[in-house]
Structures are given as C-alpha cells and as structure tokens.
Amino acid sequence: MTDSAEAPLAPGAWQSATVIDVRPETANAKTLRLRLPRPSQHLAGQHYLVRLTAPDGYSASRSYSVASAPDGTDAIELTVERLEDGEVSSFLDDELAPGDELEVRGPIGGWFVWRGDAPAVLVGGGSGVVPLMAMLRLARRTGRSDLVRMVVSARSPDQLYYAHEIPGPETAVVYTREIPPSWPRPPGRLELKDLPHPLDPHATAYVCGSSGFAEAAAALLQEAGMAVEQIRIERFGPTR
C-alpha cells in the first residue's frame, strides 16, 4: 500500500453488500466474504458495521473487524465469532448464505490501524486476531513481513483462526489450554518470553482481545520495554 492512500474517516452511508462466501474458521466462528458496491477503502485494523433488519422493522447492528488486507478490490472478509445469546452473530454464523444481501457501513476507526509502512508488534487473543490478520496479510502481500512480529494466543489448536495461514517466520502461536502433539511450549497464558525479542524500540504495538487479555498483554509489553504511548488497544468486550 502506498502512504498516499488516505482512507476517508467518515464511513458514509449504509450500503448493500452481497455475501459471496461463508466458511468456518473454528466450530464457533465463520469468515464472511462480502462484495461491496464499490472497492473497499479500508485500512488494516478497521471495522465495518453490519445491520440486520427483520420484517417488522426491528434492526440490530454490530461491528466486525475486517480480516482481509486492503487490496483495492470490492471484496472484504469479516470473521464473526458466534456469541452465546448473540442476536447478530448467531444469525450471521447460522443463517447467512452466499447470495444473501447484507447492509454494511464502514470502514470505521482511525486509531487501531496499521498503514503498512512502520514496525508493528501484533498481539492477539482469541477472536482478537481478526484485525491483526488484516495487518499480517497486508505485510505479506506487500513484501514487508520484516516490519511485523505477531503473537497469537488461542485456547487450543481447534480454536485458532486462520490456522493454516498464520505460521511463518514473523509469527508465533501460544496455546493456553491444549497444545498440538509435540508442541514445544507447554500450555499456559502469554508470558514475557513469548513476546518477540528483541522488540523494536520504535514499533507500535497493536493489542486486541478480551479486556483481561488486553490488560495482561499491555503489561507484558511494558515489562519488555515499550512505552504506554506505543501501545494501541482494541478490546472485545462482552458485546453481543
């Protein structure tokens, strides 16, 4: 991506997207591939709003991070974790099918974004890997994997999103509960030694996950020498 591609900050109007693919990431998360009326202007890390409307006029909207890298096309991918009692996520994961129309609005967010031209440390927990995946994909697509170091925490191998795509020299995976056969690291929470080292003193850290994960990861990054001003956080609260 060139640095002249300044995304508009105002997300504009609702638009009708077409679902072109739905595929499972894990037993409780799916990736939706959507075609927009126009090429997406998103930056890695931004999100879209998705709005569902029932025949009686009832509507519900939620935000979902874009998992796909900015690539100038009219297709984007959102990964949706199915939440217990989540009226939007359960519909998206259980009912939505290719060919369906979906109202979306975005891209949104000007803070938790990586423009592909500066060192970045990506630390994601669970579904928090989604916006970071857009950053990793952007780095790889533009041949700038050297700028990125990523650590992803997942409960178990079957809970890791993008499991076949994440592995690489710039990434590490930490399992907290269960590990694959012959995995060198015992299961356990993210620790200081799991962070990339040495940490680039000029890097920006992007931390995404539950609030508890985000606090813990931010504390580790500071322990590793990062200043609070270098750490950007996006939390996935229990919003449904």
Binding site: A10, R51, L52, L96, G110, V228, G237
Partner: protein, 202 residues
C-alpha cells in the same frame, strides 16, 4: 428499509422506549472499551482542573473533590458501539459547581475534556452545564474501577459514552470547537444518541 432474509429479530414484545435508535440493552453487563493502556492513578497525586477561558483556573485534589456536595445520576448510558445500559447509577459531583468556581469567560462556548492518559473529547459547554454532566467516582455504590475510568471519569450520559472521558484530568474551556481523540478518528463532534450522531457526517 432493506430486510435481511431470514432475520426475525428478537420477537420479544415492544422495544424499550429508553433505547435510542440502533441501540440494544446490554442488561447487567458493562463492556469495557478503551484505546489505551489502563493507567494506575494514585489518589494522593490525583488532581482535576478547570482551565482555559475562565476567570481563574482551579485545581482540586481528591480530598477536595470528595468534600464538595455530592450528586447522583440514575439513568441510562449509551455506547456508540450500540449497547446501552439502562437504569444505572453513578455518584460524584455535578460539573456545575466546578465550572462556577472557575468562572467561565463569556467567550467560552466549548470544552475539551482531557484524561490523565492524554485522551481527549470535545463538547459544547452547554452540554456539560446545567445539571447535564458529572465527575463520577462511584458506580452502583462502589468505587469506579480503573478499567471503567476510575478513580474518576467525566459522565455526560445524554451523549454517546466516548464523551464521558475516563480518567478525567481537566476541562479546558475554549471559544471554538476542536475535534478530540475519537472525533479526529471519524466519530461525531456532538454524539447525540437520539439523533444517531455516531460518525462524522451523521
């Protein structure tokens, strides 16, 4: 309005009239959203100030704030990410006596609320005056936790909740509007949930 094939909604009776458009009731939960590292702010060195276009800038210590007449808000809060928390109580002090102590100059018409983290958010002065905002340090009778902005946050419940700056440090009175942190990042300068002023251009 475009219907979504197969979406039936909750089908559970009439919508709560306290919910602004596009919002849902989060129930007993209170999601935590913030863009930065949660700061640790010792009460002994905590301060709050009103400055900018005032007759006399005033700074209060924690103990001085606690000594002011208390004030409680019991009502609803609305987050731009679409959850609302209904019927919830905050206690602290009304912003009105704090403004009065500093004496806004006639030219003061906007406020920048600054957090101890450097976070900022802009508001019209009239939206923080006349009983519409608080410096809050208790939620449901308990000290406000650091994750929710403790020891004290601004509370402006009639606007989207990003205006209720966590870890509030100061109110700077200005004679013009200027975008704060989220406002520079695409969010609305005013943020009225009943008008769905979520993003720039809404």
């Amino acid at each position: 309005m475009a219907f979504t094939r197969g979406f039936k909604g909750r089908g559970g009776g009439p919508r709560d009239p306290r919910l602004p458009p596009g919002q849902y009731d989060v129930g007993a939960e209170w999601p935590i959203l913030s863009a930065e590292v949660t700061p640790s702010l010792p009460l002994a060195s905590w301060t709050f100030s009103v400055d900018g276009l005032v007759e006399r800038p005033v700074t209060w210590t924690w103990d001085e704030m606690q000594a002011l007449p208390g004030s409680t808000y019991d009502g609803d809060i609305h987050c731009v990410t679409s959850w609302s928390k209904l019927g919830t109580a905050f206690s602290g002090v009304s912003v009105d006596p704090l403004l009065a102590a500093a004496g806004p100059l006639p030219s003061a018409s906007y406020v920048m609320a600054w957090s101890h983290t450097g976070y900022s958010t802009n508001l019209p002065l009239e939206d923080v005056a006349d009983g519409k905002s608080w410096i809050a340090w208790e939620h449901e009778g308990q000290p406000l936790t650091a994750e929710h902005g403790g020891p004290a946050r601004l509370l402006v419940p009639h606007l989207y909740f990003w205006k209720s700056a966590k870890w509030i440090a100061r109110l700077e009175l200005m004679d013009h509007d200027e975008p704060g942190f989220w406002e520079q990042n695409g969010y609305h300068d005013h943020g009225d949930p009943w008008l769905e002023q979520r993003f720039q251009g809404d």
